[in-house]
């Protein structure tokens, strides 16, 4: 062991970053998009009108709809519309066979009329949200892989801080138009300046999956009865069995006001009714998840479903649960208003940029060594292809997902699946394209196409949904307009990137060697 501590940390940073970099980039970009999950879903289901109606009105409509259509269900779930999610969604579950979960049915209602909405079949923003921790894999595997990636991200962050020795001296330093130097400056700048976000998001992702990754403490306290642990974290999931005697369900809407009295200034998010129409019916009114920074799953007021009597108000969270809940809340950012939500989005983009620049630096530094001979070894070419597909290819796939939403016929069978398929098909094609074309050409072509597709999203929206102007001028649907404009801005930014890439870099021959030597010592 002749190497110093810093060198070994640099080695760790370089290789942990490379091996998981591509996966992490995909996780961070889709996770960043998931901050606008509801807004993306709203754009992808333009049939859902954006209306502001009171919670009480929506709840009356939901109850009468469920009483007509969900007779004999064991549970009802009612999600009230809010400013971000305009649809009123109801779901019910029929009693399953013993030991099995009953099937769920979900419907989207117009919150002003209670009529069933015929919205196009789509995953919407939920796709990005699910992908960023399940990676489109069968149940436990995607979560395991993304948690492993999060662990490696944490390792890369800590080793990166140790490697970057001049963290305070270089705090304000960014020197553009200097080739490899600028990439390194940029990597350090987005890494250091947004460090609180990076640490928070990575650490909290590990806390969220802690029951899966590090179950030792749970097993030690609760033994094999892990249900008991989850019942303590999510107390609302405990329910009494049905009595088998029919009884009339109480009118739900007056319960809202009673529940809100328990939470000064709070909103109601969701209502569940257990055993509706039974003598043992109960109603849980849950607080809106975006009310507080600290997420509290147990913030529930329970009512008797027949008499409407208040049965139980959940006790305040214990400190341990509050700490857990604060990591959860900070990661998801549900509490964030528009400004803070945009900041979350920008921070997420900065994290994505940090991973991307890191990958570019790894390759650029090694390509310099082979620049003279003109022959690229296979492993460098492989990294280059994966870099292109994971960055410009992913953006292209996201654009294709949005385009598929507007171009696939509404009546197509398994339409939502085909939207997802088009995302992965385009991503796969971009990998193939990157393997066939020379590096710089592939970058320019993919970035150019992605720029074109994203920048024309407003046009696409206006052509396929002719009421778009009407939508935000008359009904004030700024969410959809905001989505269109954001796509346009992203398209313009990518076009700038493609243009930068298409121009040959002027390598000043004299200075290049000394600078390269300096980089060698620093980047490692």
């Amino acid at each position: 062991m002749k190497e110093g501590f810093r060198q070994s940390m640099a080695w760790l940073h370089t290789w942990a970053g490379l091996v998981f970099g591509w996966l992490l980039l995909a996780i961070f970009l889709t996770g960043t998009l998931a901050y606008f999950k509801d807004e993306i879903s709203h754009w992808m289901q333009p049939e859902v009108p954006s209306r502001s109606v009171s919670n009480e009105t929506s709840l009356i409509l939901a109850q009468s709809y469920l009483q007509q259509h969900a007779q004999g269900a064991s549970r009802w779930f009612i999600n009230l519309p809010d400013a971000r999610e305009p649809g009123l969604s109801v779901m019910w579950q029929f009693p399953g066979k013993p030991g099995e979960r009953g099937a769920f049915t979900q419907k989207l209602l117009d919150p002003a009329t209670g009529a069933e909405l015929q919205a196009r079949d789509t995953r919407g923003g939920e796709f990005f949200y699910r992908f960023h921790f399940q990676l489109q894999m069968p149940h436990p595997w995607g979560r395991w892989l993304s948690t492993a990636a999060a662990m490696l991200m944490f390792v890369a962050l800590i080793s990166g801080i140790i490697t970057h020795k001049k963290i305070f001296k270089d705090f304000f330093t960014f020197r553009p138009r200097k080739g490899q130097r600028s990439w390194l400056d940029g990597h350090n700048a987005v890494g250091v300046l947004v460090l609180p976000f990076h640490l928070m998001i990575t650490y909290s992702s590990l806390v969220i999956f802690m029951s899966m990754v590090m179950p030792a403490s749970i097993l030690a306290t609760y033994g094999n009865d892990t249900r008991a642990y989850f019942n303590e974290v999510f107390p609302a999931s405990k329910t009494a069995p049905a009595a088998g005697k029919p009884a009339h369900l109480v009118q739900l809407e007056p319960l809202l006001e009673q529940a809100r009295e328990q939470w000064p200034g709070g909103r109601v998010g969701r209502i569940t009714v257990n055993n509706p129409g039974d003598a043992n019916a109960s109603v849980n009114v849950m607080r809106h998840g975006g009310d507080q920074v600290v997420r509290d799953f147990g913030n529930v007021v329970t009512f008797d479903g027949v008499s409407g009597k208040l049965l139980q108000v959940s006790p305040p969270q214990s400190t341990a649960l509050a700490i857990n809940g604060s990591f959860y809340g900070l990661h998801m950012g549900l509490f964030a208003g528009p400004l803070l939500r945009w900041l979350y989005f920008i921070c997420g983009l900065a994290a994505t940029a940090m991973i991307g620049t890191g990958l570019v630096i790894w390759l650029g530094k090694r390509q310099l060594k082979h620049a003279k001979s003109g022959v690229t070894p296979f492993e460098l070419r492989l990294v280059e292809v994966l870099n292109i597909a994971s960055m410009s290819g992913l953006v292209l796939a996201v654009a294709a997902f949005f385009w598929a939403n507007r171009l696939l016929p509404v009546s197509l069978a398994e339409r939502a699946d085909w939207e997802v398929n088009s995302f992965f098909i385009v991503w796969g094609l971009s990998l193939l394209h990157a393997a066939l074309r020379r590096g710089r050409k592939a970058w320019v072509e993919q970035l150019g196409l992605a720029a074109l597709m994203l920048a024309s999203v407003p046009l696409l929206d206006a052509l396929t949904m002719p009421d778009v102007l009407d939508g935000f001028l008359v009904h004030g649907d700024w969410v959809r307009a905001g989505f269109d404009l954001t796509c346009l801005a992203a398209g313009l930014f990518l076009a700038w990137g493609a243009w930068k890439m298409s121009r040959p870099v002027a390598q000043p021959a004299v200075a290049a060697r000394s600078r390269r030597a300096a980089l060698e010592t620093e980047v490692n």
């Binding site: 700048a189 947004v194 604060s326 900065a350």
Partner: protein, 107 residues
Amino acid sequence: MLLALLLCYPGFAGLCLSMDRHHAELLGYKPTARRRSGLRIGGWLLLAGSLWAAIAAAGWGLGLVQWCAALMLSALSLVLLLPYQPRLALLAAGLGLLVSPLAALAQ
């Protein structure tokens, strides 16, 4: 949150100017020792002030989150502005200081 941002950005600008290299790049000469420490103390005071502003406006939980967001955003925008529009970067700091009393009154 606006007041926190308006205080954070000039705070970082002050800390940036308190470093010899950046001071020389932006203003053309090296700062004296007194000027340097003045800028440094002023910068830290402004950052502390923005912490107070965020917590006073939104309470401890949300206030701390907003303060962190303001820190990251203002540092990021300062660093990205400096190489391209150095004058604008300093002008924005001055404007932030000028407008902040108004924002404080409005808060």
